[in-house]
């Protein structure tokens, strides 16, 4: 079973520490690919002053465990870390971290992108953006569905 760290949390995270833990004491580790998502100050042409992230406790963790299992079955991975924040976040804040360690870069890149694509479409998180004219739930994007679907072909 691939070494894994999974956390849903309100507080910020430290990418260097997460990467250090992913790599630690693993002599075969040759490649780490990480993704960090940030709150942008604009969404389309709306200004965003803050964002609130809601999730479904329990189901979120199960979904992400399942996504990691799928990725580990497809590629030879040495470690996977997924951290996703919830609560109120301001522009420039980190939202999500996905780190994947492997012996070679090809599987690390592929698995990190796979995990992000399925996290976007299969893990129960919802974003509500607040701007000068009020708060709106973010609508799901077709491009995310398309990104996840290409792994099934």
């Amino acid at each position: 079973m691939v070494r894994r760290v999974l956390s849903i949390q309100q507080q910020d995270f430290d990418v260097a520490r997460l990467q250090q833990e992913l790599v630690a004491e693993e002599p075969e580790m040759g490649a780490v690919v990480s993704f960090t998502g940030y709150v942008r100050g604009r969404s389309g042409d709306r200004e965003v002053s803050s964002m609130e992230l809601e999730h479904y406790p329990g189901m979120t963790e199960r979904s992400i465990e399942g996504i990691i299992d799928q990725a580990a079955a497809r590629w030879p991975l040495l470690g996977v870390t997924v951290v996703h924040r919830v609560g109120v976040l301001t522009p420039g804040s980190r939202i999500v971290y996905v780190g994947v360690g492997s012996s070679h870069r090809g599987s690390a890149f592929a698995a990190a992108e796979y995990i992000m694509d399925f996290l976007k479409t299969g893990a129960p998180f919802w974003k509500k953006e607040t701007g000068p004219t009020g708060a709106c739930w973010v609508e799901a994007r077709n491009s995310d569905e398309t990104a996840a679907r290409r792994w099934r072909d």
């Binding site: 479904y56 919802w126 609508e139 799901a140």
Partner: protein
């Protein structure tokens, strides 16, 4: 007893985080449970729960309307996810 949860936009449209309803023989599947919820509430519930992009889960796994239910199940209704 069935535990019913609502999230995000759906939670706000219904004005309800969740509720518990006693399990009855006529709640054999998710469609039947949804019909009881609609019957027991204002017309707004029908519009919200029948909307085409509502996602449903039973015991934290995605489920279709014909998914069977048992006493003690946890059912959730939510909009398409937007995390990451």
């Amino acid at each position: 007893m069935i535990k019913v949860l609502f999230f995000a936009r759906i939670r706000e449209q219904l004005g309800c985080d969740g509720l518990e309803i006693g399990f009855r023989e006529n709640m054999a599947n998710l469609a039947a449970l949804q019909a009881s919820l609609i019957a027991a509430h204002e017309p707004r519930w029908e519009q919200v729960l029948n909307a085409p992009n509502v996602i449903r889960a039973v015991n934290q796994q995605l489920a279709d309307l014909d998914h069977p239910l048992s006493d003690g199940d946890e059912v959730a209704f939510f909009p398409p996810v937007t995390g990451g």
